[in-house]
C-alpha cells in the first residue's frame, strides 16, 4: 500500500487517475448542478455529486481530492444512474464514484460514517466467495456482527423465514473452487498495484 507522499510523487492528480481508470473526464463538468438536483441522496451527502466533481477538478489542490476520498458521499451513492442519465455533459458519475471508492479503500481513507455500508458489502462478498451465491441469512448475521447494529433486521428475519423467503442453509454452487481462485487472483493484483 502506498503512502500519501507516493501518491503525489507519481505526478498524477486524482482526476487523472480517475480518467485513466474509467475514461471519464471530470474536466467536462461545468457545475450546472443537475446531478445534485436529482440525486436521491444528495441531501444526505457531505458533498453532493456536483461538488465531488468540482473537488476533483481542483487538481492543484491535493487537499480537495483528499476531501473527495474521505467523503461520506462516495459510499452513499447508490449507483442509481439518475445523475448520469440526466447530466448534460454525459459524465458517468457513478463510474467515478466507483473509482473513488476503490481509491479510498486502497488508501484507507474510508469515511467512518460509511463503516456500516462497507461492512455490508464485505459480508456480501464473503458470502459470494465461499458459497458462490448470496446466502441472505448468513449475510445478515455476518453483517450484524461486523457492523454492530444487531437488532433492527433480525426482528424482521423470523417473518421472512416463516414465509419461506430465507434459507437457513446456504445454496452453494458446484465450482466454488473457481470462485476462490477468482477472488484470490483479484486480491493479488490489488496488492501488486504500485
Amino acid at each position: 500500500m502506498r503512502s500519501d507522499t507516493d501518491i503525489q510523487q507519481d505526478g498524477k492528480v486524482l482526476s487523472d487517475r480517475v480518467l485513466e481508470k474509467t475514461g471519464v473526464a471530470v474536466a467536462r463538468c461545468y457545475q450546472c448542478g443537475k446531478c445534485s438536483a436529482g440525486c436521491p441522496l444528495a441531501s444526505e451527502m457531505d458533498f453532493p455529486p456536483s461538488q465531488i466533481m468540482h473537488l476533483l477538478q481542483l487538481g492543484d489542490f491535493p487537499e480537495m481530492a483528499e476531501k473527495a476520498l474521505r467523503s461520506h458521499t462516495i459510499w452513499l451513492c447508490l449507483t442509481c444512474e439518475i445523475c448520469y442519465a440526466r447530466c448534460p455533459m454525459e459524465i458517468d458519475i457513478p463510474k467515478v464514484m466507483d473509482a473513488l471508492r476503490h481509491e479510498s479503500l486502497a488508501q484507507k481513507k474510508v469515511n467512518p460514517k460509511a463503516r456500516g455500508i462497507l461492512a455490508f458489502h464485505r459480508a456480501f462478498l464473503d458470502s459470494v466467495r465461499y458459497t458462490g451465491r448470496l446466502f441472505e441469512m448468513g449475510q445478515v448475521i455476518d453483517y450484524k456482527l461486523r457492523s454492530g447494529h444487531f437488532l433492527q433486521d433480525l426482528l424482521q428475519a423470523p417473518w421472512m423465514f416463516f414465509v419461506g423467503k430465507l434459507h437457513l442453509l446456504p445454496e452453494r454452487i458446484r465450482d466454488r473452487r473457481l470462485l476462490g481462485r477468482i477472488f484470490a487472483r483479484i486480491a493479488k493484483t490489488r496488492e501488486n498495484r504500485p
Binding site: G33, S36, S43, P48, P88, M89
Partner: protein, 671 residues
C-alpha cells in the same frame, strides 16, 4: 524568347544594409532570359516607377521582377506601373528581399546569396506568367430577400432605399417573423408590434419592393450578378387583387377550432384566416388541410359571404421566374419544441410552456389579452419558474452551443410577469447569465433588484406534476448544491434556439454551407460575417445563429450594404487568378477524365459539369468546368486533380515547379 527586366531596390538602407544589391543585380543580369537588370534607391518612388516604365518600352520587356518589399505592400503599385507602360500587369512579379531577407538576416554572403535565390525564383516564375485579362461579369440589379422577419424586412428596405429592386419572399401568409409574436422587447421593453408594424407597412408600400408572401424558393441557378430563380407562390385560394381584406369570411368560417401557429398553439383560428390583425399583406388564406370544403366537399360559406367574389377554391400554385443579382438569406430560426425534454414534462404538462408561448400570454393581442393565465385552467399563476438553458449548452441533447437570447428574454419574462402579477413569485433557474450588450446587464440587474426575481444557480433535474402544481427539482449550487424543490403553477422553458426546419434543403438549393446545427455558415467568422462562401449570397439575422433584434437588424443593414456595393457596378471586375480546366483540340478535347474528385473539394461550389459534344450533338465526354463567377482561386481543386487537368492562373503547375527548381539551383534558369 523571354525578355525579363529585373529591378533591385535598396529601400534606402533597409535592403542595402544587409544585402549587396549591386551584386544581386549583376548576377541577375546573367540569368538566361533577363534582358535588363538594374538597382535603384527607392523603386516605389516616382522616378523608380518611371525607370520601370521606360525600360519596358525601350527594352521591349516581356516580364518584370521587382526585387524589393513584400508583394502585399507594393504589388498593386508596380503592376499598375507596368500596365501604364503597356505591359499586362499579370506579367509583373515581386521578389520579396526585404521582409523575407534583408530584415530577418544579418549582413553576410549568405544573405546576399539568398536575395539572389529569391530573384532567380521569381524570374523563373515570371517567364511562365501569362497575360491575363480581368474577368468581367454583368450584374442584374435586383435583389432577392428570402424571409420576411425583421432581418429580411430591414435588408429589403435598405436595398430598396438605395434605389434597387427587391423581391421579398416569405413562406408564411404574412411577413413579420418571430418579432411579430413578441410582446415587449428587451432591453427597453417597448412593444414589439408597435415598432415592427410601421416597417411592415413600409415594405408593403415601397415601390421598389415586390412582396411574395406564402411563397417559397423553388430553385436557383447561376452565379453572382446572374442568378435565375423560380419562386413558388402557394395558392391562397383567393384572388389577392379582388380581396379587400374586409375579414367577413374569417368571421363566418364555421371551422374555427384550429390551433393558431401565431399564438404558438395557445389560441384558435378558423380555416380561412389572417395570422394576426396587423398582417402584411392583410389578406386571408385558406388552410386546405382544415377547411371543411376541401375535406368534405361541402361549405363554401366564405365564397358566399365575400362581397368581392375573391375566393378561388380551384387556385393552383404559381411559379414565378426572375433574374437576380444578389441574394440575402434571412430565413430566421425557431425554438426547440416537442418531446425532447421528458424529464421536464415538456409536451406533456399543459403548464410547462416555452418562451414563445409566454410571449403570446404576455402580449396584449394574445389569447389572454395580455393577462398571464396558465393554459391548463386559466388561473393566474402565483409562482412561476423560468428555466434557462433548456436544451442549450446540453451536448447530451445534441446542442452544445449557447442560444444567446434566452438569458435576456428570460429576465424579460420574469419582469413582465412581475409587472402583471404583483404578488406573484418568479424564480429563474440559470447556469450563467449572459447579458453582453448595451444596457443588457443593467436590464437583468433590474429584474433582480427592482422586480425581486429570485435567481437560483442550478440546472433543473426534473419537473413533475403533483396535486395541480408543478414540482421543480433543482439544487442551489451556490449553497452547497443541496437539492431544493419549488411548487410552481407555471413553468416556462427557455428552449434552445435552433435552425428553421427547412434550413438544410434551402441551403442546398442556394449552394451555401451550414454548420453542424444547420445554421448558415458565414464566409469568415470575424471579417466576413454577412457573406457566405458563395459570391453574391449574403446572410442576415438568426438564420446564421441565434440573435436578438438589434443584432439581426445590424447584420441586415450590413448585408444590404454589401448588395448595394455589388449593385453600384454594372459589371463586376475580378482578378483572373482562378482555376481553369484544360481544353485542347480534338480528339482529346481535354485531359480531364471526368472523375469529379475536384468537385466536392471546392469550398465555393465553383466546379460544374460540362458536356463536350461533337458536331452531331453526340456526347463525347463530360468534364469539369470552373464557373469564373464563383471560383475564388484557392487552388484546392488543383492539388487534387490526378491528371493535372485543372490549373490555376498565376499559380500554375508550370510556374510553381519552375520556382522550386530555380530556388534549388536546378533547371534551365540557373546561372
Amino acid at each position: 524568347m523571354a525578355r525579363i527586366g529585373v529591378f533591385v531596390c535598396h529601400c534606402g538602407e533597409n535592403i542595402s544594409a544587409t544585402v549587396d544589391v549591386k551584386k544581386v543585380a549583376e548576377a541577375a543580369s546573367r540569368i538566361p532570359g533577363v534582358a535588363h537588370s538594374v538597382e535603384y534607391k527607392y523603386m516605389c518612388s516616382d522616378p523608380g516607377q518611371q525607370m520601370i516604365r521606360n525600360a519596358i518600352r525601350e527594352k521591349n520587356l516581356t516580364g518584370v521582377v521587382v526585387a524589393a518589399c513584400s508583394p502585399r505592400m507594393h504589388e498593386p503599385t508596380f503592376r499598375r506601373a507596368c500596365a501604364e507602360a503597356g505591359l499586362n500587369p499579370f506579367l509583373c512579379e515581386m521578389a520579396n528581399i526585404r521582409e523575407h531577407c534583408s530584415w530577418v538576416h544579418e549582413k553576410s554572403e549568405a544573405t546576399t546569396h539568398k536575395a539572389f535565390d529569391i530573384v532567380r525564383t521569381l524570374v523563373a516564375k515570371v517567364k511562365r506568367n501569362k497575360a491575363l485579362l480581368p474577368i468581367k461579369v454583368p450584374v442584374t440589379k435586383t435583389a432577392l430577400v428570402l424571409g420576411g422577419g425583421i432581418a429580411g424586412i430591414q435588408a429589403s428596405l435598405d436595398i430598396a432605399n438605395s434605389g434597387h429592386k427587391v423581391i421579398l419572399v416569405e413562406k408564411e401568409p404574412s411577413i413579420g417573423g418571430h418579432m411579430s409574436q413578441l410582446s415587449e422587447t428587451f432591453p427597453t421593453l417597448d412593444c414589439s408590434q408597435c415598432i415592427l408594424t410601421p416597417r411592415m407597412v413600409e415594405v408593403a408600400q415601397h415601390p421598389n419592393i415586390t412582396l411574395h408572401s406564402y411563397s417559397e424558393l423553388e430553385s436557383m441557378d447561376g452565379f453572382i450578378g446572374n442568378f435565375k430563380v423560380r419562386i413558388r407562390k402557394k395558392a391562397r385560394s383567393l384572388d389577392e387583387k379582388l380581396c379587400t381584406g374586409c375579414g367577413l369570411c374569417v368571421q363566418k368560417c364555421p371551422s374555427k377550432k384550429i390551433s393558431s401557429e401565431f399564438d404558438a398553439g395557445l389560441g384558435l383560428r378558423p380555416a380561412i384566416y389572417v395570422p394576426f390583425p396587423q398582417a402584411v399583406p392583410n389578406k386571408p388564406v385558406i388552410d386546405r388541410e382544415h377547411c371543411t370544403y376541401y375535406r368534405t366537399g361541402k361549405c363554401r360559406l366564405c365564397e358566399k359571404i365575400c362581397p368581392t367574389q375573391a375566393i378561388r377554391f380551384d387556385q393552383e400554385d404559381e411559379i414565378i421566374e426572375a433574374d437576380i443579382g444578389a441574394v440575402v438569406v434571412a430565413t430566421g430560426f425557431d425554438i426547440k419544441h416537442g418531446d425532447f425534454f421528458p424529464e421536464y414534462g415538456y409536451g406533456k404538462y399543459k403548464d410547462v410552456i416555452d418562451g414563445l408561448q409566454f410571449e403570446r400570454l404576455a402580449s396584449a393581442s394574445g389569447p389572454t389579452l395580455g393577462e398571464i393565465r396558465r393554459p391548463s385552467d386559466g388561473q393566474v399563476p402565483q409562482t412561476v419558474v423560468f428555466v434557462a438553458c433548456a436544451g442549450s449548452r446540453d451536448p447530451a441533447k445534441g446542442i452544445e452551443y449557447c442560444s444567446k437570447i434566452c438569458c435576456m428574454y428570460t429576465a424579460k419574462h420574469a419582469m413582465l410577469y412581475k409587472h402583471k402579477v404583483h404578488h406573484g413569485k418568479p424564480f429563474v433557474f440559470y447556469m450563467d447569465i449572459r447579458a453582453g450588450g448595451k444596457m443588457y446587464e443593467e436590464f437583468v440587474r433590474r429584474a433582480m433588484e427592482e422586480d425581486g426575481v429570485q435567481y437560483i444557480r442550478s440546472r433543473v433535474s426534473r419537473i413533475y406534476e403533483r396535486g395541480g402544481k408543478l414540482v421543480v427539482k433543482g439544487a442551489d449550487t451556490l449553497l452547497g448544491s443541496r437539492p431544493l424543490e419549488i411548487e410552481a403553477d407555471l413553468v416556462v422553458l427557455a428552449t434552445a434556439g435552433v435552425a428553421q426546419a427547412g434550413a438544410e434543403q434551402l441551403a442546398q438549393r442556394l449552394h451555401v454551407s451550414f454548420d453542424a446545427h444547420k445554421f448558415y455558415a458565414e464566409a469568415h467568422p470575424k471579417l466576413r460575417p454577412v457573406e457566405t462562401n458563395t459570391a453574391g449570397i449574403f446572410l442576415a439575422g438568426a438564420c446564421q445563429a441565434p440573435k436578438d433584434i438589434p443584432e439581426s437588424v445590424a447584420q441586415a443593414s450590413g448585408a444590404a450594404a454589401k448588395v448595394a456595393i455589388l449593385f453600384s457596378q454594372s459589371e463586376l471586375v475580378r482578378e483572373p487568378l482562378i482555376a481553369v480546366v484544360d481544353r485542347q483540340a480534338p480528339p482529346l478535347y481535354s485531359s480531364c477524365v471526368g472523375c469529379f474528385l475536384c468537385q466536392p473539394s471546392c469550398p465555393y461550389q465553383a466546379i460544374e459539369k460540362e458536356e463536350i459534344r461533337d458536331r452531331d450533338g453526340q456526347l463525347i465526354k463530360t468534364i469539369a468546368k470552373v464557373n469564373p463567377g464563383l471560383c475564388q482561386g484557392c487552388g484546392t481543386c488543383v492539388a487534387l486533380c490526378r491528371t493535372k487537368s485543372i490549373d490555376i492562373q498565376g499559380f500554375s503547375h508550370e510556374q510553381v515547379y519552375a520556382e522550386v527548381l530555380a530556388l534549388l539551383n536546378r533547371g534551365e534558369d540557373n546561372v
